[in-house]
Symmetry: C2
Amino acid sequence: MQGQADQRESGSARVAESLAIAIHEHRLSPGMKLSEDEVGEIYGVSRTVVRAALQELAHDRLVELKRNRGAFVAQPSVKEAREVFEARSLLEPRTAKSAAERATPEDIKILQKHIDEEHAALHAGDTGRALHLSGMFHVEIARIADQSTVAEFIAQLVSRSSLIIALYWQRRTALCESHAHDALIKALARHDGAAAEELMHHHLLDLLTSLDLRDQPSVPKSLKEALN
Amino acid sequence: MQGQADQRESGSARVAESLAIAIHEHRLSPGMKLSEDEVGEIYGVSRTVVRAALQELAHDRLVELKRNRGAFVAQPSVKEAREVFEARSLLEPRTAKSAAERATPEDIKILQKHIDEEHAALHAGDTGRALHLSGMFHVEIARIADQSTVAEFIAQLVSRSSLIIALYWQRRTALCESHAHDALIKALARHDGAAAEELMHHHLLDLLTSLDLRDQPSVPKSLKEALN
DNA sequence: GTTTACGATTTTGTATACAATTTTAGCGCA
DNA sequence: TGCGCTAAAATTGTATACAAAATCGTAAAC
């Protein structure tokens, strides 16, 4: 995520990506400690490269570094959750509009493939992968808009949204995003910028309101952290 | 810039900040190589901490890391320059609007102090410091809007803008930003969100059009890079 | 004179070693 | 039992050592 264009997968990049996926799929829960020795042993690398990977993830706000204390999977606060979706609301609707004006048939095909895979994953019960693909859909739109700088920001925000959803999702509402994405792709296909902008705007609003953003940062991992 | 909240200035953070300032003040020119040994010797630290600092700066796009080749001061392309200001145009006007609605008298005082120092620096001929303060003004507005996530993005974009201005500034237009900032602060003081949004929008447009964004990435450091 | 190949030097990538800080466990004492 | 203190263990921060890659200089070949 927002890596600095390494031509070949460097050691730290590989570790960072693997950790990021694990966090996105909620296999590493928020608040969990990421010991340098432990991570290094798992991936068969030294602490040097683990530290580089953790620093990269910290920059993307997926992990939090505490000086002399170590790295922990981030626990976005309610305020941070709102801020992330506020930022997305500033960036994504206008980007979707630009994408609609520039989208080629090939772009639409790629997006459609994303949606199909998302549906398949959802049908197979792999909600983790479905969520990941759902995020990729948003990043792909920014790429179509040919705005790589904005695309990097959106990629980071989508990544953080994944953590936020893991923390604050209220299971009452079904995962009905697919419909929003279907409508979006149709607007993009017919180059309807205004519709795409509006659809994206409401899609993000729906996402935000589907969260339970009332108070505390959700379940702490241990009683100790609850009193921290 | 966008540091991960170290409670005390860590070694790498200190080096990164010092390098960032040097880049902003154009004492380190775009394309210049940053040797790890050399930087480490200058600051009296080992390559380990230099590498961490360079990685942080690379994430903020102030330096570019080339695998097995080293770190270089970034040379934003024309396309990247346009993208950075496009992103700022998406984020800053609406953020200025929010700031206007929330600004307290103390916030206005802080902003006014920034402007005064900016004027003083400009009057003293220290354009480097003036540019730095000018950027801080924009970041401060995001802070007033109480949107730290957006503020971090803006901080990074302002930082990159500094490099872009160093590269593409056409000296024909004078540094008349101050007037724009004066008008902005007045709109903020009277809580006129609409005016602040519009002023920020035009301010960014003016900045963009004051650049010479025609073709090549400006002066290359070596002939080799010119043909790369 | 130009080009190509090869070796030496330099520089980066990674692992390991040591220092500093934090955490934890044990012990004494009220 | 509960609290506070001290020391040992574990973990992070930093420096150094070694391996791999790229760069540079030289020289040989055409």
